[in-house]
């Protein structure tokens, strides 16, 4: 029990500690792929610490909601991220929210973030918020379709149980899983505002979405929002890793000795995921905002197709 508690706590701290590192790694990898030196790996930590120590400059008409939202979305995303298995299945509180609830928690975070974009009443905030909800209105159903596919294959919506099923040999090669993986990657790219949907490095570009929404934030508030974005990225990479690359995930009741396998395996998966993301981002151009619905429509249709396959046949 105490060990379980410690593992859950370790998991919470691990994702929080690793999140900026993953962001830094992706940036570094992108820079190296572009033949630039790039910032050091720990640059995101430095940025966060510097931002946290700065004064907050708040727009004169910002409301109480604007000040609460950074803490709220950080908390919601952190809770969601700590429920995704990273190095060990069967976390102590994994039953408190299944995969549908985790997706919905991220939806809550986005809901409040979009509200924050509208709070000061600037046109940039509005443009970011309205585009964010447009993207979300397609990405969320696509994500739920993927969840349906996984749940129907594994017979459970509990992430731990799905992951356990994915480790077991019963899973086999399935068409619906392949479609689901493809859809999940598309959704993850859109949800994290990566190229080609949005550009996380941009500032002052008419197509920006996430950066436009958080334009009015500064100081510790901005630090929390950056940290939240990193947490979301690590959440999606962990999710894809634990569902489609579950090697090295230790089952429930594994001893401390097994951590020596689980944690390095997880770090390795993060590195591979981050590198692939960087590679993808450097090899593709950003698309127009109104091409995004087509991009996500593909994800939605793939997800729906996968669910239909599962409904029609038990083995596909």
């Amino acid at each position: 029990m105490i060990l379980d508690f410690a593992v859950q706590g370790l998991q919470m701290l691990l994702v929080l500690a690793l999140a900026p590192l993953l962001t830094g790694f992706v940036r570094k990898a992108k820079a190296r792929l572009m033949r630039r030196q790039g910032p050091p790996l720990i640059q995101p930590y430095r940025d966060l610490i510097r931002l946290m120590h700065k004064d907050v400059v708040l727009a004169s008409n910002a409301s109480w909601l604007f000040r609460v939202i950074p803490y709220l979305i950080f908390a919601v995303t952190w809770v969601a991220a700590s429920l995704v298995p990273t190095f060990r299945i069967g976390l102590l509180f994994s039953w408190s929210a299944d995969l549908i609830a985790i997706i919905a928690l991220l939806g809550s975070a986005r809901f409040f973030q979009a509200l924050a974009g509208l709070d000061v009443g600037t046109s940039f905030g509005g443009i970011g918020a309205s585009r964010e909800v447009m993207i979300a209105s397609l990405a969320e159903p696509a994500m739920l379709m993927i969840v349906f596919t996984l749940a129907l294959i594994a017979g459970s919506t509990q992430l731990s149980n799905i992951a356990e099923f994915m480790v077991s040999p019963a899973v086999g090669l399935r068409v619906s899983l392949a479609l689901g993986l493809l859809a999940l990657i598309l959704v993850a790219i859109a949800e994290n505002g990566r190229i080609p949907v949005d550009n996380p490095a941009t500032h002052l570009e008419l197509t920006m979405v996430h950066e436009a929404m958080v334009l009015e934030y500064s100081g510790r508030h901005l630090a929390l929002i950056e940290l939240t974005a990193s947490l979301k990225l690590i959440l999606y990479v962990s999710l894809i890793a634990c569902l489609f690359a579950p090697w090295g995930l230790k089952p429930e009741g594994a001893g401390i000795a097994d951590f020596t396998i689980g944690i390095p395996a997880y770090l390795g998966k993060l590195a591979v995921g981050g590198f692939l993301l960087a590679l993808f981002e450097t090899s593709i151009a950003k698309m127009r905002v109104f091409r995004v619905p087509e991009f996500l429509g593909v994800a939605l249709m793939l997800g729906l197709l996968a669910v239909l396959l599962r409904f029609v046949s038990g083995s596909l």
């Binding site: 803490y71 809770v79 709070d119 379709m145 510790r220």
Partner: protein
């Protein structure tokens, strides 16, 4: 015992109506009438809860009123008790809200007498135990609510709304009349007990299903019978809007459940396909319509359409499982639908109260004239935000729980043997997911444009916080949203007797589950714990705030907005409701609403400003209602000549009719 109590409460409400006519002109009439309504509804609510939670046996009573030899029958079972609780919860809070809100009423004598009668009618519908009483109460409910819709009759749109409403309501009642006629059969079995015992043939049963879908569906707002709803609900005073949207649509759901699950008997498998398809289409169409609106109350009314769709998806799944004898899955789907009935009544009432408070404070319903209300109305803004989060199905509030249960029911449906359902259910699941995501977008818009940003008009700038009674009602409902979200097990268990009656099985008991989680099927399959999620969010948010404020910095300066260096002082440069919805309008609306954006650019030298005009058409109205209205208008014009005949022509018409009738009689086999 409980039945007597609730009938006395309904009688008291009925008696209040004529009393209100007398006192309506007095200065303190509104608080007295609404206070008495709240008291009567509260007693009725407690009785209904006692009946429901105590799992008391059904009680029935026959009164020597109404048609001779038939009488008037009332009965309270778990289903009636649950819907009675929903009705009276809405009634108590609406009355409490109206104690404050109603004092702003310009013409109280047009509202006060009808309000208690409306409450009484809704109570009586769910208690009725024979077809006659049910239909009379149903029609009484329609008429009293119609009177409330046209209470502000000087506003031109309201009269039109009332006209469309009364036509649709009459049409719906006609369908229900025919449905009960079929159920009663040639022997005239009017009481529900007799109808239940007589099993109609498959063809008749199917006909009853369609008539119930038209009759109850038109009152609930199923697409394509929803057209009156977004006109009529916003036209009424806000507390009545809350009752119509939050409660009266649920009475319609009650009518559907009572007829289709209880009275008709065993469903055929294809019934569920009709209900599921209608539910899915209703959910998505409702929310897309809502996204196109910039009138706050109309937006909320369209969201009622969406939520009715979600409820019908749950009911449709329950019908499918019931038809194949999968009783425990049917219990899950039914519980999901009925829990959403309760949840929606809570947050929709809350949101309409909020819109009423905004209306009182600013005199505006149009979001494009509002903005920045969070500064002057912080408490209203807070409770409205709670309602927005709840209706957007976001954890940890209550809307999420019922949608989560519906998703769990969808995930059970591959076990259904029918191929039609196997292909339909995933599509309906996708529509449900789409409607949930769009609802969140819509409420970002509703809250963000109304309460956040900068005030767009002087009225919005000078708004003041609403009164204590209204706030009390809203805080109560907001608290209920949270409680039902973090402790859903209590509410699911309360619904168990209903599932027992309607599908013959119940969900596993939830209150005994560890840590107050909910486990709809099995622990290995799915579970959700709203309480823990809520606590985790609260703790980690507080922890983060504490750590950052202590260890890093807690200093704060105010400055002008940054806006990338180009802030514009005019509040007109903010995003409005229509500009916020523009991306979604472009993605979904170009085909579904034929949405077009026309730019009117005056020629050089012309001093007029350029204009952007957005044209959105309602294709359902154009395709179904406009042709019918045109045909009726055309034939009425043609038949108008009959009014101006001479006496000889009239007499010859009568003679010709007589001859035709005699001929028919002669030829009739």
């Amino acid at each position: 015992m409980m039945l007597t109590v609730v009938l006395w409460c309904a009688a008291a409400l009925l008696a209040l109506a004529p009393l209100a006519v007398i006192v309506a002109h007095m200065a303190k009439a509104a608080p007295i009438v609404y206070g008495l309504c709240a008291a009567a509804a509260l007693i009725s609510l407690l009785a209904a809860l006692k009946q429901l939670l105590g799992a008391a046996p059904a009680e029935s009573m026959a009164l020597p009123l109404g048609i001779p030899w038939v009488g008037t029958h009332f009965r309270i079972d778990a289903l009636s008790a649950f819907f009675l609780a929903v009705v009276d919860l809405g009634a108590v809070t609406a009355s409490l809200f109206a104690i404050g809100y109603g004092s702003h009423e310009a013409a109280p004598s047009r509202v006060l007498p009808f309000y208690p009668a409306f409450l009484a009618a809704m109570n009586l519908v769910v208690l009725a135990d024979d077809a006659f009483t049910f239909l009379v109460s149903w029609e009484f409910m329609s008429l009293t609510s119609w009177a409330l819709v046209v209470s502000h009759h000087r506003v031109r749109d309201n009269v039109y709304a009332g006209y469309v409403y009364i036509v649709m309501a009459s049409f719906g009642t006609l369908a229900l009349l025919l449905a009960f006629g079929l159920l009663a059969g040639p022997d005239g079995l009017y009481t529900f007990a007799q109808i239940r015992a007589a099993h109609p043939t498959a063809g008749f049963a199917a006909l009853v299903l369609f008539l119930a879908l038209i009759g109850a569906g038109s009152k609930a707002g199923l697409v394509p019978l929803h057209v009156w709803l977004p006109l009529a609900h916003p036209a009424a005073p806000s507390h009545v809007s809350a009752l119509m949207s939050g409660v009266m649509t649920k009475v319609a759901v009650y009518g559907f459940v009572r007829i289709v699950f209880d009275l008709v008997g065993g469903p055929a498998w294809w019934w569920s396909m009709v209900v599921l398809a209608l539910g899915g289409v209703t959910a998505v169409m409702g929310v897309l319509y809502a996204l196109m609106q910039h009138d706050l109350k109309r937006l909320l009314a369209y969201h009622t359409v969406e939520n009715i769709g979600i409820i019908f998806i749950g009911l449709g799944l329950a019908l499918a499982f019931k038809a194949y004898g999968m009783d425990s899955a049917a219990a899950l789907a039914l519980t999901a639908g009925l829990l959403h009935v309760f949840n929606h009544s809570v947050f929709k009432s809350l949101l309409f109260f909020g819109s009423g408070a905004v209306l009182t404070a600013t005199g505006e319903r149009d979001m494009e004239h509002l903005g920045g209300l969070i500064h002057n109305m912080p408490q209203t803004a807070f409770v409205f935000l709670v309602g927005c989060v709840a209706i957007s199905a976001l954890p940890p509030l209550n809307g999420f729980v019922s949608e989560w249960l519906t998703f769990q029911a969808v995930l059970l449906s591959p076990q259904l043997p029918s191929w039609g359902l196997k292909l339909l259910v995933p599509g309906v699941g996708a529509l449900l997911a789409l409607s949930a995501a769009l609802a969140a977008a819509c409420f970002v818009k509703a809250f963000g444009v109304t309460f956040l940003g900068r005030p767009r008009t002087l009225a919005a700038e000078r708004a003041a916080e609403t009164d204590q009674f209204s706030l009390a009602a809203m805080y109560f409902l907001a608290a209920l949203c949270l409680v039902a979200g973090v402790l859903p097990g209590l509410f699911i268990d309360a619904l168990a007797p209903l599932a027992d009656i309607l599908v013959g099985s119940r969900m596993p008991v939830q209150t005994g589950v560890q840590w107050l989680s909910i486990v709809p099927i099995a622990a290995g399959r799915s579970s959700y714990n709203g309480l823990l999620v809520f606590l985790f969010i609260g703790i980690s948010g507080t922890l983060a705030a504490f750590a950052i404020h202590r260890l890093a910095s807690d200093r704060l300066r105010r400055g002008p907005a940054w806006d990338c260096g180009y802030p514009d002082p005019s509040p007109a440069t903010q995003y409005t409701a229509s500009s916020f919805a523009q991306p979604i309008r472009r993605v979904f609306g170009t085909s579904m609403f034929r949405a077009r954006e026309l730019v009117e650019m005056p020629p050089p030298g012309d001093m007029r400003p350029a204009r952007l005009v957005v044209v959105v058409r309602d294709l359902i109205w154009d395709a179904i209602y406009a042709p019918v209205a045109a045909a009726i208008g055309f034939s009425a014009d043609r038949l108008n000549v009959l009014q101006f005949l001479t006496i000889r022509q009239f007499l010859s018409l009568v003679f010709a009719l007589l001859v035709i009738l005699l001929l028919v009689l002669a030829i009739w086999p």
